[in-house]
Amino acid sequence: MSRLSARDWRNLVLVAMALGVTACLPWTAGAYMLSIGVTIAMYTVLATSWSLFSGPTHYISLATAAFFGVGTYVTGIGIQYLPYWTLLPIAGIIGAVMAALVGLATLRLSGVYFVIFTLGLAEFVRQIITWGQNISGTKGIYVLTSIGETHIYWQLLGLAALVWLLGWLIGRSRLGFALRIIGDDEAVARHSGIDTARAKILLFMVPGAVAAITGAILAPRYVYIEPSLAFSPMLSFQVVIMALLGGTGRLWGPLVGVIPFTFLWEAISVSFPNQTTLLLGVCFLVIVYLLPKGFVGLIDAAKKRMGAEGYA
């Protein structure tokens, strides 16, 4: 690892200050804005960790809902026996182990297998849990805690800071370098001695753990957990859309997608509650055909144009 340049220090301080300002939201905003804040923080965490893996490897993971659901169940079941603070690391470990298993089965092969596998993963776990509940005769789980919206918001902000830090560290490490080569050309990466499967599996554990922790943090917000709610497949798709809308090439890219999309989605759910699926599909198509590199791509292109004019 190289030493930090002045620019790195400046960026770190700026990010820390921005986080400090956003952490004040609960004191300045009303209940509605705070709930939007929680939603934005949640999707920022999910989309950023998603693009840590899917950005460099170009593998589209649709497993977010599966990890998230497992996380909510860790809190839902664990809260009766363990103190709350132990649950988040437990959820993270379970998420990471699950991700490693999925990775072991699919990431050694071509990317399509991975996409298909993750597509059905949430449904698979949901069926298993529903079955387990049928056998044991329980229905849903009540999560009754004193944790309110404000605490959830702060926890999510903390997690977001952790994810950014981790992403930044990975970017500077040998693993990050290996992943950029894999993303450019996997054959080249293999020939230069990189264990591509190992690198991909290691990296996939990050979004797995993060999504599970996010689920564990948000469980108290739902109060009542049941499989169809915890494993809602919509979550995976929304995360993919937000991350791609922002752009996966930069750490801050997903954030640029999450904020406008959250407001857009809020408006859509209010005005066209029956057409959400249709409009989600349209969003996918818009991204593929009009914004293949996301907002980050647009910004970079604009910068380049400005730079070119400046020199001319």
Partner: protein
């Protein structure tokens, strides 16, 4: 015994659906995640014509197939052709086509929800008992199975004997070399894609005679079809049929002996085993 026969009957219909997907993914090289929606649409038309004007689903299949062919051809031309053109590598095309067909599948689900509502739909057609080897089965299942066998057989004959079938197999095996011997790869791929859609929609018409569908079940069928295609080997017609029958058997076993809610979990288990031990498919040769 009745579990085995029920499983085989189900597997036969699955074979038809998976064959459609195999034409699209194995031959036209488009991973079509909107495949299940085409199936549900086929089922909708059958439901609509049967409850509206008592037209037999077996006849409906003849109406559904050409319409689905045309629709899929248009989808390929409008949405996928530009992606094929702009893709620099196979991986790039895969990512783009996955996202696009995802979008299309959501649009299709949304349209069907708007048109038909979110209810389950089923109708009773040929629900008379039929006696095979001492046990009784619904005549609709047997009819669907026989129709699927006939269509699969015709398709297989056409692919292996006719000239057009040969060009389709050629672009599946070696798309680059196919151009050298004068095959219009783009046109043939569009043809294979459209044909695959038609086959899947026909499968949907048949399956709607004995299964309850709703606007958002498509993705489950897409998944099952994908598992079958991968298990049978991408682009391998014979493997697809065997794999479909295996999946039908396994699902029926699990539903009967453990829990009917675990059918997808069973398909998944099979998928994991295949990925771990034979990722090249049942009859595939290992590649480097």
């Amino acid at each position: 015994m009745d579990v085995i026969i029920t499983g085989l009957l189900l597997g036969g219909t699955y074979a038809l659906i998976a064959m459609g997907l195999n034409l699209q993914y194995g031959m036209a090289r488009i991973m079509n995640l909107a495949n299940g929606e085409m199936l549900v649409a086929g089922g909708f038309v059958a439901f609509w014509l049967w409850t509206g004007s008592q037209i037999s689903p077996l006849l409906t299949a003849f109406i559904v197939a050409p319409i689905a062919f045309l629709m899929n051809w248009l989808i390929y031309m409008v949405f996928l052709r530009p992606l094929v053109k702009r893709a620099r590598s196979r991986g790039q095309l895969e990512v783009d086509s996955i996202l696009t067909t995802f979008g299309l599948s959501f649009v299709a689900v949304g349209l069907m929800l708007a048109l038909f509502g979110g209810d389950y739909f089923s109708y009773s057609y040929l629900s008379t008992p039929l006696n095979i080897l001492g046990d009784t089965y619904g005549a609709n299942r047997v009819a669907a199975f026989l129709a699927a066998v006939v269509i699969c057989g015709l398709l297989w004959l056409w692919l292996s004997r006719s000239r057009t079938g040969m060009t389709i197999r050629a672009i599946s095996v070696a798309p680059d070399s196919a151009r050298l011997v004068g095959i219009d790869v783009r046109r043939t791929a569009a043809l294979a894609f459209a044909l695959g859609g038609a086959v899947t929609a026909t499968g949907g018409t048949l399956i709607s005679t004995f299964l309850t569908l709703d606007a958002s079940t498509g993705v489950i069928f897409t998944l099952k079809a994908l598992v079958i295609v991968i298990m049978g080997g991408v682009g391998d017609v014979r493997g697809t049929i065997v794999a479909a029958l295996l999946l039908g058997l396994l699902e029926t076993f699990v539903a009967r002996l453990i829990d009917p809610g675990l059918t997808l979990a069973a398909a998944y288990l099979l998928f994991v085993v295949i990925l771990l031990f034979r990722p090249q498919g049942l009859f595939g040769r290992p590649t480097t």
